[in-house]
Symmetry: C2
Subunit: 162 residues, 2 copies
Amino acid sequence: MSSHSPEGPDGVDPADLDAARAALSRFMAQRGLKSTRQRDRIVDTFLSQEGYLNVEELLERVRRQDARISSATVYRTMKLLAECGLASARRFDDGQTRYEPQVGRHHHDHLICTACTRIIEFEDEEIEALQEQAAARHQFRVTHHKLELYGLCADCQQRGRT
Amino acid sequence: MSSHSPEGPDGVDPADLDAARAALSRFMAQRGLKSTRQRDRIVDTFLSQEGYLNVEELLERVRRQDARISSATVYRTMKLLAECGLASARRFDDGQTRYEPQVGRHHHDHLICTACTRIIEFEDEEIEALQEQAAARHQFRVTHHKLELYGLCADCQQRGRT
DNA sequence: GTAAGTGCAAACGTTTTGCAATGAA
DNA sequence: TTCATTGCAAAACGTTTGCACTTAC
């Protein structure tokens, strides 16, 4: 279950990680894409971490290992990962795109602390079911959805932040 | 109920509109802000319309009445309206901010058709209640939220679009 | 050898801002 | 008279792209 506890320290299930890398290899082979030093560094850094990262943060981490990787390459690689389903891209309320590894994960929704920007994930089957019902009332067929709850996390409430 | 049917032709309840303008006056007086020709045009144009508008669209409509209004002024005015609660700002999946008048309206969520970009609004008390419960499980205090269901509207399903 | 990938810098689209001129109170 | 507001153009922001060079296959 390690890959399902987004708030813990890094600890992605190695089996999930291998599966992800294999899936990526297949995807790249199929499209005639090449594996490169930069790509591998970015993918590894990204996948072995949990929760959302923006490109700036990811670039910073990647550059600790290889100072000469450019942000253009990170952007390009993240697009690739998003396309093949290994990363999910999100824009919360600030203007940036954030990516989250999608390795052996269920769909989940988000609690976003407006004081410390922490993002907590949760799942709720019952809400999902009601969403389908609400959509059906409008003859709407849902393909995907986003539920974001903004407010204060426990810590920030305790510290009296706003 | 006219102000609750976002898909109909323009038809905002005049009483709601007056209330909104009064609220804005109060807000501006309190902050020492001045009323100007440009501000009034933008506010009137914006408030007497329903559904989401991006700045470009709003600017276009405003310029039909006064060709010399700049986009900077529209941006500035919309920030103001968002601050005082008369407009709600949203970023859906493209990069732009859209504003929706908030005059005598309840909170509501969105069904977004990915084929024709139509936005249908809905409300669901039961979902709201479950959201609170889910948040409470994480000791999280919700201030506001977003629920967006993406997929195909009835029309686009019928036309076999994707 | 060939095509894909890289880094750089320039371009992009949206939004914000500095500034001198204008206008509301 | 004073200070907020305006329009303009320039800057800022996150992201994308054209290009010459490098690298994987």
